[in-house]
Amino acid sequence: MAAIELERLERRYGERVALADVSVRLDEGQTLAVLGGNGAGKTTLLRVLAGLLRPHAGRARVLGAELPAERWKLPAQVGYLGHEPLLYRELSGRENLRYHARLHGVGDERVDELLAAVGMAQRADDPVRDLSKGLVQRLAAARAVLHDPALLLLDEPRANLDPAAAELLEPLIGRASGRTRVLVSHDVEGALGESDVSIGLRDGRPAAVGRELYR
């Protein structure tokens, strides 16, 4: 079953093209790597898949939901780990996760479970503004998988993570998690190594994956 089906997807920013002619198909359990230089449209693509942006033209089906009409179906099934951790800085890690748990109807035990899984059990009650970027990233990852989403959207998930932390997060957001994933990364080799399908973007349009992508 296809988890993601995009056909000539288009997204504009006024008159400027952010994404155009993007077509891709991803099956359940597979990983899609999205590669390209800065400003190529990778984050835009991720945000469209998350339901945060509506497509302007073309067809898009994510987890069985037609976009933009059925965007409302996505939040419950999608875990988004973007550039912003989406955590309230004045609240603690535990309070933040509990808030998200309540939004998704998930129990508090899962929060404790995840805190332990990302190695944050000790500092779970410190306000997020006191934590280093690496620790915040761990909490953000926990937030993204809290509701056991079918699709993970990862925008440079290993930024700010030391090797130990990256290893901790592997079973949650890595290949080993078995989830369908879309991965945006600047580490071309690494990304290609852990993905089944890949797409290169240049100025919003599909381009061959290779050195020219970054010119």
Partner: protein, 224 residues
């Protein structure tokens, strides 16, 4: 959907309790404005229309602060993506934010109204209290609904701090008229004729119109 609205409301109240950024500022602002009015009007005590007017104008100006800060926590965490990614519909989001504003306004009034009575009011408040509660409750409902709408409209514009007062205050004029007129007889030295009925009706009509309108259009904000 109520669970979603409740979770968001709880989060906002928790953050306010933690940071204490909105409510104390609004209270302090109110008291400062009372002092300004004392000097500006060169009066030690007010009653009737003047008292009613000073009280309500001050409360509405303080409300502007609360409205400007309504989405502050979201902005600090990098935007409203968090709210958009939550499995909560826009109506619940609106209800949560409006409810938070309602709670903040009530908290402010718990201090600002007695402060007003202490500093500037000639006649005592005692007898007026039951009616005043009703007026305040209806007023808070209206301000909460309009305030949440304006906050969302201005949430992602560059000129937010300018736009919120310029947008909110004219929209609140009918509410101000109703509240000031309703409160005026309550604050008079000599008991005068009360026309609470007509002003409460206007206030209720205002509340109904803006709650329904805000719920209807909220869907179109905060998306994309």
């Amino acid at each position: 959907m109520i669970a979603g609205a409740r979770a968001i409301l709880r989060k906002d109240l928790l953050i306010e309790l933690r940071t204490k950024e909105s409510v104390p500022a609004m209270v302090l602002f109110s008291v400062t404005v009372y002092v300004l009015f004392h000097f500006g009007l060169d009066r030690d005590s007010l009653d009737g229309e003047l008292a009613s007017g000073v009280l309500w104008v001050t409360l509405l100006l303080a409300a502007v602060i609360g409205v400007t800060r309504l989405f502050a926590a979201e902005r600090e965490q990098g935007g409203i993506d968090g709210l958009l990614l939550a499995p909560v519909d826009r109506t619940s989001l609106f209800v949560a934010k409006a409810a938070a504003l309602f709670v903040f306004l009530t908290a402010v009034e718990l201090v600002a109204v007695p402060a007003f009575a202490l500093l500037l009011l000639g006649p005592g408040l005692g007898g007026a209290l039951p009616e005043l509660f009703v007026i305040l409750a209806l007023a808070n409902l209206g301000v909460a609904a309009v305030g949440a709408l304006v906050a969302a409209l201005a949430a992602e514009t560059r000129a937010r701090e300018l736009i919120v007062p310029l947008l909110l205050l004219p929209l609140l004029v009918p509410l101000l008229i109703a509240c000031a007129q309703a409160t005026e007889p309550l604050l008079r030295q000599d008991a005068g004729p009360e026309e609470l009925g007509r002003w409460l009706s206007l206030l209720s009509l205002y509340d109904v119109v803006f709650v329904l309108l805000s719920i209807a259009v909220f869907d179109f904000l905060l998306e994309d």
